[in-house]
Amino acid sequence: MTMTLQGAESTETSARPTPSAPSAARRRSPRTWYRGGGLANFLFVLPMLFVFTFFSWSPIVQSVIMSLQKTNLIVAEWVGLDNYLTVLSDPELGRAVINTLYFAMLALLFGFPLPLFMAVLMSEVKRGKGLYSALAYLPVVIPPVVAVLLWKFFYSADPGGVFNTVLGWVGIPPQPWIQDAVQAMPSLVLEATWAGAGGSIIIYLAALLSVPPELYDAAEVDGAGIWKKVWHVTLPQLRGILFIMLILQVIATAQVFLEPFLFTGGGPAGATKTVLLYIYDKAFRNSLGGDYGEATAVSVLLAVVLAVLSWLYFRLTDRWSTS
């Protein structure tokens, strides 16, 4: 990296009549800075510097500061770890964490094996693969808000509701779906799985193509049948991507907001109130001004958990792509 940096600089400076002594390079005057492309460099960095300073770096710092304050936006008072202590002793947050974990667990149960299974089948068929991929990806293309509103109608508890009509064809009595505290969360996860499976299928399809064909040949020499090949060749070869997808899914489910917010508003009886909904309620539900300190305290805690998961993800992708 530094090699090419120096290389690029030296060709540039040698083309121009500027002093190239090492001391001049260290203490550059504005003129040599300009001539050396300093201004151009800065202009190209400027858009990034602007948006990241105001909309990323400064909010990150502000998050930490605000989580230690009580603020009504005009005056802020330092309260130490009070916000953290308050939210951590709030049974509502405990409930929200459990709900989020429950969502994540169900999402793993429904949503994790299904795309893999579909991708394996799709990679085996010789014709129509493009069409199958396009069909599988279609739900991902539907705007999430539209998808949720549409499914909300499908989930009508009425016996004549769309899903209840389908259940009626096979003789199952109508279900309350999202109106019932027990069925609400699985219903949300079902929709989320439908909406997200296509993306995972495409990723698994690409990963399946990278399994070295020699391994299958070798397994056949050893007398392995189809199932043995899936179990002893395909799945071990996909280990890396499977683990990456697992972490990605956990990161995504930890931030789930749209489904509980639009389907149930966190109900019935708080059964689908997730961590993000808890943060939203604390900060924005009250139109007179929210409890920003406590809301950011929860955000910071969530950020720490997600940062650890993301770090794991980047370490794994690094290893996976270099190996």
Binding site: F55, I60, M66, L135, P143, V145, V146, L150, F153, W311
Partner: protein, 307 residues
């Protein structure tokens, strides 16, 4: 990115070569039957799950409310009601929200492309002394999902620094600018630029091209594939976004479809509402059908940032 380009011809080869089931196995009757069964199963599930809801929505968008409620699967028992579409478009102002959505998407696309390409160029090609620090600071934000910054980000919009009493609520800049702070885009573009041949840059420099000329006439034209991917990501993200525009665009007149649809649901008759949902789905589906390959390639990138 280079690995991606190397991979694609290889993957086509292995596609022709073999997968789990071998050629000799495919000749066996049991397995041939199994393969046909797989085809039937895939066609059925994917048509029902992938196409089904969209077709149902398309049908119900032009069906009177009573028919949809009483016989959700009947095909127009009492005729087609095309009026739903025009009622949704004109009376509940889907036209306005549709337009707002497009303005938001185009602005977000422009800001993201501007930030990602200039930053990628600076970090990959120009490489000023401070590039290393900037790169680290940008990468660090990948570990913190934007959603946890909701509250401070909102307060930045309500009370922007250096602007005094002005706030950015109901201003599209409030949606466009934060979307530009996307480290993933910068990473993608920088990696692509890293893979471009340096000799071309050197040749251009020898011919007297300055940094702006090099950027505009050499680097950008060579980067169309990655610009396509970033564009798809940007437009889709803007079209999908719900929570953030809801917070910073409280005035219904400037809100996009995603924010307005849930809001108008309670005062809208079902058939008109379903027509509105169908209209909101139209552009993303059309874009997908036209740019299918870019979409599917972008989806593949999601799993492997290191591409």
């Amino acid at each position: 990115m280079t690995t991606m380009r190397e991979k694609s011809p290889k993957s086509i080869d292995s596609l022709a070569e073999r997968t789990i089931v071998s050629t000799s196995e495919r000749k066996r009757t049991g397995i041939r039957f199994g393969m046909s069964l797989t085809h039937v199963f895939l066609t059925l599930t994917l048509v029902v799950a992938g196409l089904g809801p969209i077709l149902w929505l398309a049908k119900s968008a032009v069906t009177p409310t009573q028919d949809t409620l009483q016989q959700p699967f009947a095909l127009w028992p009492n005729g087609i009601d095309w009026e739903n579409l025009s009622t949704a478009w004109n009376d509940i102002h889907i036209d306005q929200y549709f337009f707002n959505t497009i303005v938001i998407a185009v602005g977000a696309w422009f800001v993201q492309l501007l930030v990602a390409t200039t930053a990628g160029y600076a970090l990959s090609v120009l490489r000023p002394k401070y590039a290393g620090i900037l790169n680290a600071l940008v990468l660090a934000t990948l570990f913190i999902p934007g959603i946890v910054l909701l509250v401070p980000l909102y307060l930045t919009i309500v009370n922007p620094p250096f602007l005094g009493e002005v706030n950015l609520l109901n201003n599209y800049l409030a949606v466009w600018l934060p979307m530009g702070a996307n480290a993933f885009n910068i990473l993608l573009v920088k990696r692509f630029f890293d893979g471009l041949p340096r000799e071309v840059f050197e040749a251009a420099k020898t011919d007297g091209a300055g940094p702006f000329r090099l950027f505009w006439s050499i680097v950008l034209p060579m980067s169309k594939p990655i610009l396509g991917v970033v564009s798809v990501f940007a437009i889709i993200a803007a079209w999908k976004d719900y929570l953030w525009p809801m917070l910073v665009l409280p005035d219904p007149a400037v809100q996009p479809l995603s924010v307005r649809l849930p809001a108008v649901q309670s005062q809208t008759e079902l058939d008109v509402f379903l027509a509105a949902l169908a209209i909101a789905t139209l552009i993303p589906i059309a874009m997908f059908l036209v740019f299918q390959s870019v979409f599917l390639r972008s989806a593949g990138l999601g799993g492997a940032v290191k591409g």
